[in-house]
């Protein structure tokens, strides 16, 4: 039974690869490897529909909202030190101080980060990573890449992401392998679950899901690099 399913999955992946290999490619200058990316996108869609999405749905349905919020807060707090460092590296000491302040307050008053007390105190959560820091330092996007599980990235942000992973406290801060893997898995499922409301929107809105996700991702990154205030583009 299991073997048969596996075979089916493999056949599906292969078919997806073949089909998308032939698919006409558009001509977005930011996506020169569109054929390859589309193939990887289809592999990811397959994996997502049989593994990640069912898990996320189960988690979303089973876990009450306050617990989910605490899970999100906890991992958010773990990440705030790195967010603060990146703000510092980007020459934004004020924002960086806000992030380190958040870490201190939420780790103590917020009980190990389970509650985001700092936000209530007017210290908002920022989204920073090493890819954004590289962008601020002048590194260009590079070609767009889509990889299974990892998802959409620009070339620069793929490097940035590797640095983010290398310094991730969940990977180096937990000695016990079982605990570490469970924590990483929980974080993955929590993030996937937070994207569930967007799923239906994308599913219904997109004429071509691959292109929709690519263009949405590139716009969002641009906005993040400019901290939500990107210069206006032409109409």
């Amino acid at each position: 039974m299991k073997a048969k399913r596996m075979q089916g999955l493999l056949a599906g992946v292969l078919a997806a690869l073949l089909l998308s290999g032939c698919a006409a490619t558009g001509n977005n200058p930011k996506d020169p490897n569109e054929g390859f990316n589309r193939a990887m996108f289809n592999v990811n869609e397959g994996l997502d529909s049989v593994v990640a999405k069912p898990l996320a749905k189960g988690y979303d349905a089973a876990v009450p909202l306050p617990v989910k919020a605490s899970v999100g807060n906890f991992f958010g707090n773990v990440g705030d030190a790195w967010v603060g460092i990146n703000n510092g590296l980007q020459g934004k000491p004020g924002r960086g101080a806000n992030d380190i302040g958040r870490l201190l307050i939420n780790s103590t008053v917020g009980i190990l980060g389970l509650f985001d007390v700092a936000s209530e105190m007017g210290m908002p959560k920022h989204e920073e990573d090493f890819g954004q820091t590289l962008a601020v330092w002048g590194v260009g996007d590079g070609p767009y890449v889509f990889l299974p599980i990892i998802g959409p990235r620009t070339t620069r942000d793929t490097f940035g992401w590797m640095v983010d992973e290398a310094v991730d406290p969940v990977w180096w801060g937990i000695d016990n392998m079982a605990v570490r893997n469970s924590a990483a898995a929980l974080r993955f499922v929590d993030i996937r679950a937070s994207l569930l409301p967007a799923d239906k929107v994308v599913e219904e809105a997109a004429l071509d899901k691959y292109a929709y996700i690519r263009d949405a991702y590139l716009q969002r990154r641009r906005s993040q690099i400019f901290d939500g205030r990107p210069p206006k583009q032409d109409e």
Binding site: K68, P197, E203, L207, P230
Partner: protein
Amino acid sequence: MHGKIPMKRLIALIFSAFFVLSAAAQEAPDVLIKRVSEEVLSIVRTDKELQNGNTKRAVELVEQKVLPHFNFTRMTRLAMGKEWNKATPDQQQRLTQEFKTLLVRTYSNALTGYKNQTLRYKSFKMDGADKEVVVQTEVVRPGAPALPIDYSLEKQDNGWKVYDVVVDGISLVVSYRDQFGQEVRANGVDGLIKSIAAKNKSLENGKADKK
């Protein structure tokens, strides 16, 4: 003697009606966004069917409350980019109609998906002479950073009209530009109209086809 008072009253009534109407037409953009958002949210919060994901109901709500404040022609033009001028006025009109149906549906879904959250309105300043403004709001979510939603509005004779909605840096409209361009280059403007119409039809039939 008797007839004069009602006449005066009538004139006063007409004047006040006129005043109310023109005040509504010149409602400031931030006030407009806040009023409509709160109206819609309060309905979403109390309507059980909406919370259970009844899309038809959500579409009705959006059509009634939100649609009058949107400029769909401008939205379609923005989504088309430089391809817009390749379309005849008739094609532009049909395209706008189909795109409007698709956008209303998308927006309605986004609305029901985010029912647990509250909205925050950022402080807004504008010049009296401004013809285009951006009103910034934020969805406050438990356990995640606030989700910014920016509305771009333009001034028209009958009030301010939204021509783009940007969610977390992602424009609902600009996200279509590559897809539209791709389709127009492959199958022409009529091909694009056909494919949006087909998409709308499949959604209407309740099957979000997985492509």
